[in-house]
Protein backbone atom coordinates (compact mmCIF):
# COMPACT_ATOMS: atom_id res chain seq x y z
CA UNK A 1 0.00 0.00 0.00
CA UNK A 2 2.68 2.44 0.97
CA UNK A 3 5.54 0.75 -0.76
CA UNK A 4 6.85 3.95 -2.35
CA UNK A 5 6.93 5.72 0.95
CA UNK A 6 8.78 2.88 2.62
CA UNK A 7 11.19 1.81 -0.03
CA UNK A 8 12.15 5.11 -1.60
CA UNK A 9 13.50 5.47 -5.12
CA UNK A 10 15.94 2.58 -5.60
CA UNK A 11 17.54 3.44 -2.27
CA UNK A 12 19.09 0.41 -0.58
CA UNK A 13 17.92 0.00 3.01
CA UNK A 14 21.49 -0.12 4.28
CA UNK A 15 22.19 3.44 3.16
CA UNK A 16 19.21 4.85 5.02
CA UNK A 17 20.03 6.05 8.48
CA UNK A 18 18.09 4.26 11.17
CA UNK A 19 16.31 7.49 12.06
CA UNK A 20 15.31 8.09 8.46
CA UNK A 21 13.85 4.64 8.07
CA UNK A 22 12.07 4.95 11.41
CA UNK A 23 10.49 8.23 10.34
CA UNK A 24 9.18 6.62 7.14
CA UNK A 25 7.89 3.60 8.99
CA UNK A 26 6.16 5.78 11.59
CA UNK A 27 4.52 7.77 8.80
CA UNK A 28 3.33 4.59 7.09
CA UNK A 29 2.07 3.12 10.37
CA UNK A 30 0.18 6.34 11.08
CA UNK A 31 -1.68 5.76 7.84
CA UNK A 32 -2.68 2.34 9.15
CA UNK A 33 -0.04 0.08 7.62
CA UNK A 34 0.30 -2.88 10.03
CA UNK A 35 3.46 -4.16 8.32
CA UNK A 36 5.22 -0.84 8.86
CA UNK A 37 4.19 -0.93 12.50
CA UNK A 38 5.47 -4.49 12.82
CA UNK A 39 8.83 -3.47 11.38
CA UNK A 40 8.99 -0.60 13.86
CA UNK A 41 8.22 -2.90 16.75
CA UNK A 42 10.52 -5.74 15.66
CA UNK A 43 13.64 -4.29 17.22
CA UNK A 44 11.95 -3.51 20.53
CA UNK A 45 9.56 -6.38 21.23
CA UNK A 46 11.98 -8.64 23.11
CA UNK A 47 13.22 -5.77 25.29
CA UNK A 48 9.63 -4.67 25.95
CA UNK A 49 8.86 -8.18 27.15
CA UNK A 50 12.03 -8.34 29.23
CA UNK A 51 11.13 -5.08 30.96
CA UNK A 52 7.47 -6.03 31.46
CA UNK A 53 8.49 -9.40 32.90
CA UNK A 54 10.49 -7.65 35.61
CA UNK A 55 7.64 -5.30 36.42
CA UNK A 56 4.59 -7.60 36.35
CA UNK A 57 5.93 -11.16 36.12
CA UNK A 58 6.00 -13.73 33.37
CA UNK A 59 2.30 -14.60 33.31
CA UNK A 60 1.15 -11.06 32.60
CA UNK A 61 4.06 -9.70 30.59
CA UNK A 62 2.93 -10.93 27.17
CA UNK A 63 -0.60 -9.60 27.60
CA UNK A 64 0.66 -6.26 28.86
CA UNK A 65 3.06 -5.86 25.93
CA UNK A 66 0.45 -6.93 23.39
CA UNK A 67 -2.13 -4.48 24.75
CA UNK A 68 0.51 -1.78 24.88
CA UNK A 69 1.46 -2.30 21.24
CA UNK A 70 -2.15 -2.11 20.12
CA UNK A 71 -2.55 1.07 22.17
CA UNK A 72 0.67 2.43 20.68
CA UNK A 73 -0.63 1.82 17.16
CA UNK A 74 -3.94 3.53 17.91
CA UNK A 75 -2.32 6.56 19.49
CA UNK A 76 0.55 6.82 17.03
CA UNK A 77 -0.53 10.30 16.02
CA UNK A 78 0.54 11.46 19.47
CA UNK A 79 4.10 10.35 18.74
CA UNK A 80 5.89 13.55 17.71
CA UNK A 81 9.36 12.13 17.36
CA UNK A 82 10.75 14.25 20.21
CA UNK A 83 11.76 11.08 22.04
CA UNK A 84 12.93 7.88 20.37
CA UNK A 85 10.31 5.41 19.19
CA UNK A 86 11.74 2.91 21.67
CA UNK A 87 11.13 5.20 24.61
CA UNK A 88 7.60 5.91 23.28
CA UNK A 89 6.82 2.18 23.30
CA UNK A 90 8.50 1.58 26.64
CA UNK A 91 6.58 4.50 28.14
CA UNK A 92 3.28 2.86 27.19
CA UNK A 93 4.42 -0.50 28.56
CA UNK A 94 5.63 1.06 31.82
CA UNK A 95 2.30 2.87 32.28
CA UNK A 96 0.37 -0.35 31.78
CA UNK A 97 2.70 -2.21 34.11
CA UNK A 98 2.09 0.42 36.79
CA UNK A 99 -1.61 -0.41 36.65
CA UNK A 100 -1.04 -4.15 36.77
CA UNK A 101 1.98 -4.37 39.11
CA UNK A 102 0.10 -3.96 42.41
CA UNK A 103 -2.17 -6.88 41.47
CA UNK A 104 0.85 -9.00 40.61
CA UNK A 105 2.59 -8.20 43.87
CA UNK A 106 -0.47 -9.31 45.80
CA UNK A 107 -0.99 -12.49 43.82
CA UNK A 108 2.57 -13.82 43.64
CA UNK A 109 5.80 -13.62 45.56
CA UNK A 110 8.11 -11.77 43.15
CA UNK A 111 11.23 -13.49 44.42
CA UNK A 112 9.92 -17.01 43.90
CA UNK A 113 8.28 -16.16 40.60
CA UNK A 114 11.33 -14.64 39.00
CA UNK A 115 13.83 -17.02 40.51
CA UNK A 116 11.80 -19.97 39.22
CA UNK A 117 11.61 -18.46 35.75
CA UNK A 118 15.34 -17.91 35.70
CA UNK A 119 16.19 -21.39 36.97
CA UNK A 120 18.36 -23.21 34.47
CA UNK A 121 18.05 -26.66 33.03
CA UNK A 122 20.65 -28.98 34.60
CA UNK A 123 23.87 -28.62 32.65
CA UNK A 124 27.64 -28.28 32.98
CA UNK A 125 28.74 -27.03 36.38
CA UNK A 126 30.12 -23.70 35.19
CA UNK A 127 26.94 -22.96 33.32
CA UNK A 128 24.87 -23.95 36.33
CA UNK A 129 26.84 -21.61 38.61
CA UNK A 130 26.48 -18.72 36.18
CA UNK A 131 22.78 -19.39 35.83
CA UNK A 132 22.40 -19.60 39.58
CA UNK A 133 24.03 -16.19 39.94
CA UNK A 134 21.73 -14.88 37.27
CA UNK A 135 18.69 -16.26 39.10
CA UNK A 136 19.86 -14.57 42.29
CA UNK A 137 20.36 -11.30 40.46
CA UNK A 138 16.80 -11.60 39.15
CA UNK A 139 15.55 -12.32 42.62
CA UNK A 140 17.39 -9.32 44.06
CA UNK A 141 15.95 -7.14 41.28
CA UNK A 142 12.46 -8.33 42.13
CA UNK A 143 12.82 -7.04 45.70
CA UNK A 144 13.31 -3.44 44.54
CA UNK A 145 10.44 -0.97 44.83
CA UNK A 146 8.70 -0.53 41.48
CA UNK A 147 10.02 2.99 40.80
CA UNK A 148 13.62 1.80 41.09
CA UNK A 149 12.97 -1.44 39.22
CA UNK A 150 11.41 0.49 36.33
CA UNK A 151 14.41 2.73 35.77
CA UNK A 152 16.97 -0.05 36.19
CA UNK A 153 15.07 -2.47 33.93
CA UNK A 154 14.76 0.15 31.21
CA UNK A 155 18.49 0.75 31.45
CA UNK A 156 19.66 -2.86 31.67
CA UNK A 157 17.19 -4.76 29.51
CA UNK A 158 16.16 -2.11 27.01
CA UNK A 159 19.45 -0.20 26.95
CA UNK A 160 17.66 3.16 27.08
CA UNK A 161 19.68 6.27 27.85
CA UNK A 162 18.83 8.27 30.98
CA UNK A 163 17.07 10.83 28.80
CA UNK A 164 14.97 8.14 27.15
CA UNK A 165 14.14 6.64 30.55
CA UNK A 166 13.08 10.09 31.77
CA UNK A 167 10.79 10.37 28.77
CA UNK A 168 9.38 6.86 29.18
CA UNK A 169 8.76 7.14 32.91
CA UNK A 170 7.78 10.81 33.01
CA UNK A 171 10.30 11.78 35.67
CA UNK A 172 13.13 14.35 35.51
CA UNK A 173 16.57 13.33 34.27
CA UNK A 174 18.16 13.90 37.68
CA UNK A 175 15.61 11.60 39.28
CA UNK A 176 16.42 8.87 36.76
CA UNK A 177 20.10 9.21 37.56
CA UNK A 178 19.53 8.95 41.30
CA UNK A 179 16.98 6.12 40.96
CA UNK A 180 19.37 4.00 38.93
CA UNK A 181 22.18 4.58 41.40
CA UNK A 182 19.84 3.83 44.31
CA UNK A 183 18.54 0.70 42.56
CA UNK A 184 22.05 -0.64 42.01
CA UNK A 185 22.98 0.19 45.60
CA UNK A 186 19.94 -1.70 46.92
CA UNK A 187 20.70 -4.62 44.64
CA UNK A 188 24.28 -4.73 45.83
CA UNK A 189 23.08 -4.82 49.45
CA UNK A 190 20.52 -7.51 48.66
CA UNK A 191 23.07 -9.68 46.84
CA UNK A 192 25.50 -9.35 49.74
CA UNK A 193 22.71 -10.29 52.15
CA UNK A 194 22.10 -13.41 50.08
CA UNK A 195 25.79 -14.20 50.04
CA UNK A 196 26.15 -13.66 46.31
CA UNK A 197 29.49 -12.34 45.09
CA UNK A 198 29.03 -11.49 41.45
Amino acid sequence: MLAGLLDGPAEPAVTQSGEDLETRLVAAAMYGDPDAFDRLVAGHAAALHAVARRLVGNDLASDVVQDSLLAAFRSLRRFRGEASFGSYLHGIVVNRCRRVAPRWRRSAAPFDALAAEASPEPGPEAHAVASDTRARIEAALATLPLRYRESLALREFAGLSYEEIASATGVPLGTVRSRIARARGLMRDELERRGVRP
Binding site: G32, P34, V65, E117, E156, F157, I180
Partner: protein, 139 residues
Protein backbone atom coordinates in the same frame (compact mmCIF):
# COMPACT_ATOMS: atom_id res chain seq x y z
CA UNK B 1 24.03 1.70 51.06
CA UNK B 2 27.19 2.36 49.13
CA UNK B 3 29.71 1.59 51.85
CA UNK B 4 32.54 4.08 52.04
CA UNK B 5 31.54 5.74 48.76
CA UNK B 6 29.58 8.97 49.08
CA UNK B 7 26.14 9.20 47.49
CA UNK B 8 27.25 11.68 44.84
CA UNK B 9 30.33 9.60 43.98
CA UNK B 10 28.11 6.51 43.71
CA UNK B 11 25.72 8.31 41.35
CA UNK B 12 28.62 9.52 39.24
CA UNK B 13 30.09 6.01 39.11
CA UNK B 14 26.74 4.64 37.90
CA UNK B 15 26.46 7.35 35.29
CA UNK B 16 30.03 6.50 34.23
CA UNK B 17 29.11 2.84 33.85
CA UNK B 18 26.09 3.82 31.74
CA UNK B 19 28.07 6.20 29.51
CA UNK B 20 26.13 9.22 30.71
CA UNK B 21 29.02 11.54 31.61
CA UNK B 22 30.72 14.32 29.69
CA UNK B 23 34.34 13.91 28.59
CA UNK B 24 35.56 16.07 31.49
CA UNK B 25 33.55 14.06 34.02
CA UNK B 26 34.83 10.80 32.56
CA UNK B 27 38.41 12.01 33.01
CA UNK B 28 37.65 12.92 36.66
CA UNK B 29 36.11 9.52 37.40
CA UNK B 30 38.99 7.68 35.74
CA UNK B 31 41.50 9.62 37.84
CA UNK B 32 39.57 8.64 40.98
CA UNK B 33 39.38 5.01 39.85
CA UNK B 34 43.16 4.91 39.47
CA UNK B 35 43.77 5.85 43.07
CA UNK B 36 40.73 4.30 44.83
CA UNK B 37 40.65 0.50 45.08
CA UNK B 38 37.20 0.41 46.69
CA UNK B 39 35.73 2.48 43.87
CA UNK B 40 37.33 0.21 41.28
CA UNK B 41 36.01 -2.91 43.03
CA UNK B 42 32.52 -1.40 43.21
CA UNK B 43 32.59 -0.63 39.50
CA UNK B 44 33.66 -4.17 38.63
CA UNK B 45 30.88 -5.62 40.75
CA UNK B 46 28.33 -3.42 39.03
CA UNK B 47 29.63 -4.48 35.63
CA UNK B 48 29.23 -8.14 36.53
CA UNK B 49 25.71 -7.60 37.87
CA UNK B 50 24.84 -5.68 34.68
CA UNK B 51 26.00 -8.62 32.60
CA UNK B 52 23.60 -10.82 34.52
CA UNK B 53 20.72 -8.66 33.33
CA UNK B 54 20.03 -9.00 29.66
CA UNK B 55 17.25 -9.98 27.27
CA UNK B 56 16.86 -13.76 27.40
CA UNK B 57 15.64 -16.42 24.97
CA UNK B 58 12.31 -16.49 26.75
CA UNK B 59 11.84 -12.80 25.86
CA UNK B 60 12.80 -13.35 22.22
CA UNK B 61 10.36 -16.26 21.90
CA UNK B 62 7.61 -14.27 23.60
CA UNK B 63 8.31 -11.32 21.29
CA UNK B 64 7.62 -13.48 18.21
CA UNK B 65 4.26 -14.54 19.64
CA UNK B 66 3.34 -11.00 20.62
CA UNK B 67 4.18 -9.62 17.18
CA UNK B 68 2.12 -12.32 15.45
CA UNK B 69 -0.86 -11.61 17.69
CA UNK B 70 -0.57 -7.85 17.14
CA UNK B 71 -0.23 -8.25 13.37
CA UNK B 72 -3.31 -10.41 13.31
CA UNK B 73 -5.32 -7.94 15.39
CA UNK B 74 -4.24 -4.99 13.27
CA UNK B 75 -5.21 -6.71 10.03
CA UNK B 76 -8.77 -7.14 11.26
CA UNK B 77 -10.75 -4.30 9.71
CA UNK B 78 -12.90 -4.17 12.83
CA UNK B 79 -9.99 -2.95 14.95
CA UNK B 80 -9.90 0.45 13.27
CA UNK B 81 -13.45 0.67 12.00
CA UNK B 82 -14.74 -0.51 15.36
CA UNK B 83 -12.95 2.30 17.11
CA UNK B 84 -14.68 5.11 15.25
CA UNK B 85 -18.06 3.45 15.60
CA UNK B 86 -17.47 2.82 19.31
CA UNK B 87 -16.55 6.44 19.87
CA UNK B 88 -20.18 7.55 19.25
CA UNK B 89 -22.11 4.65 20.74
CA UNK B 90 -23.22 6.70 23.72
CA UNK B 91 -24.71 9.57 21.73
CA UNK B 92 -28.10 8.00 20.84
CA UNK B 93 -28.38 6.65 24.38
CA UNK B 94 -27.59 10.08 25.83
CA UNK B 95 -30.10 11.78 23.52
CA UNK B 96 -32.82 9.28 24.49
CA UNK B 97 -32.06 9.74 28.19
CA UNK B 98 -32.14 13.52 27.86
CA UNK B 99 -35.47 13.35 26.08
CA UNK B 100 -36.97 11.09 28.75
CA UNK B 101 -35.69 13.45 31.45
CA UNK B 102 -37.19 16.44 29.65
CA UNK B 103 -40.52 14.69 29.24
CA UNK B 104 -40.56 13.80 32.93
CA UNK B 105 -39.59 17.32 33.90
CA UNK B 106 -42.29 18.92 31.79
CA UNK B 107 -45.06 16.46 32.66
CA UNK B 108 -44.64 15.41 36.30
CA UNK B 109 -41.78 17.61 37.51
CA UNK B 110 -41.65 21.20 38.76
CA UNK B 111 -41.88 22.53 35.21
CA UNK B 112 -45.15 20.72 34.56
CA UNK B 113 -47.33 23.09 32.46
CA UNK B 114 -51.02 23.64 32.75
CA UNK B 115 -51.44 22.08 29.28
CA UNK B 116 -49.02 19.10 29.31
CA UNK B 117 -50.02 17.73 25.93
CA UNK B 118 -48.70 20.78 24.09
CA UNK B 119 -45.34 20.61 25.87
CA UNK B 120 -44.96 16.87 25.47
CA UNK B 121 -45.58 17.30 21.77
CA UNK B 122 -42.88 19.99 21.59
CA UNK B 123 -40.38 17.80 23.45
CA UNK B 124 -41.19 14.83 21.23
CA UNK B 125 -40.58 16.98 18.15
CA UNK B 126 -37.24 18.15 19.58
CA UNK B 127 -36.28 14.54 20.27
CA UNK B 128 -37.21 13.51 16.74
CA UNK B 129 -35.14 16.37 15.36
CA UNK B 130 -32.19 15.36 17.56
CA UNK B 131 -32.40 11.77 16.38
CA UNK B 132 -32.55 12.93 12.76
CA UNK B 133 -29.43 15.00 13.26
CA UNK B 134 -27.65 12.13 14.95
CA UNK B 135 -28.67 9.75 12.18
CA UNK B 136 -27.26 12.15 9.58
CA UNK B 137 -24.08 12.81 11.55
CA UNK B 138 -23.18 9.19 12.20
CA UNK B 139 -19.77 8.22 10.85
Amino acid sequence: MTGSISRSAWERLNAYLDGELSAAEIADVERELERDDALRAALEKMRRVSKGMSVEDVDVRAAHGIRSAVRERLRRPSVRAGRSAMRWWWLPAAAALAAVALVALYTAGPLAPTQPRVHVQAVAEQYALALDELGGGQP
